[in-house]
């Protein structure tokens, strides 16, 4: 039994949209850091240097 072409086309379109949705929170987070100047990863690196990790 084969998949209907209409359903296959809808899956392809929705998968492409999903890739954008997956990336969205990461993009928004990085954009927020860019706007606010926040650099949380630097804090982590500094604390690791202090603790000698």
């Amino acid at each position: 039994m084969q998949m209907e072409p209409r359903i296959a086309n809808r899956i392809v379109k929705n998968v492409l949209l999903s890739i954008f949705i997956y990336a969205l929170p990461v993009i928004l987070m990085l954009l927020t850091f860019y706007i606010t100047g926040e650099r949380p990863w630097e804090k982590k690196a500094a604390s690791e240097q202090v603790s000698g990790k």
Binding site: Q2, I7, I11, N14, L17, S18, Y22, P25, M29, T32
Partner: protein
Amino acid sequence: MIKFFEAVFQNLSTWGLPVLVLILGVIEFSLGLYKKHWSKNERILDIVCYTIPKIVVRPLVTYFGLKFLPLVLPDLKSVFDWVPFWWGFFILCIADDLTQYWYHRLHHEVPFLWRFHRTHHSAPYMGMAMASRQNIIYTIFFSQTYLTTTLVYLGLGYPALFVKGIKSIITTLAHSSIPWDKPFYEKKWLNPIAWVLERLISTPATHHAHHADSNDDGVGHYKGNFGNMFFLWDIIFGTGIITRKYPSGYGLKHYQEEEWYAQFMWPIFKSKKEGSELSANGPMVQDDPIPVPVAVRSEEPVIGKSKLELT
């Protein structure tokens, strides 16, 4: 305050959820919501599906997180633990639930995959008894479990505790036969909340429609409403229907009450029921009987295309 919620979700992830399921199950039985559908075969299947994955799948996921990931990604442990809580929460909500949406949807839309998910839909009732009812292969390959375990390894373990807890509550309540969402539709002042709720998360009305045995009543929508924690995916991708009603029947029209071991272990064990999707020579997808206008009705029973292929 945060410590309180942390304790709540930590307990939920251990003993809390099974207790919630047990309490809801007892209420469902007391109210007679399973009617007379919970036969011996269904009972064994539901109990096996609830217990065995906890013995088999949990060690597998633990091995994946504690042994496999450190082996393949040795320098990446906790590399993203600097991600602020709410961003981690947001990332996990999408990563986990959108992956489950796709895993679920593909098992409905790709004919080859349907039989791995069929067990979850064969129950002629809704409720706690059937919420965990899945074929073992479907459960082992639950893709979002491995994705979330990987994100935990990368440093998002703390937000994962909350995402997993909230998701468990929503999906459990969406499968319940207690229509807790009904007051939101009936009481006018709660309607605005209902509007948001039914678009954002899975509710009994939308998820029960997904488990309907027919689409003919205008309520059932077994070819859509795939969302698990979030219904939003169905809204975005156009696969959802909201009616604020509950379907008249659940399960599969062509259900042959296949043996519990065949439903749990297909394709390792196959059903002896002739013509079943789970039998050795059964169809990949057995369509429901097609209603035919009286004027053209022949003496032969009219059945779905794939069933005809069998004969």
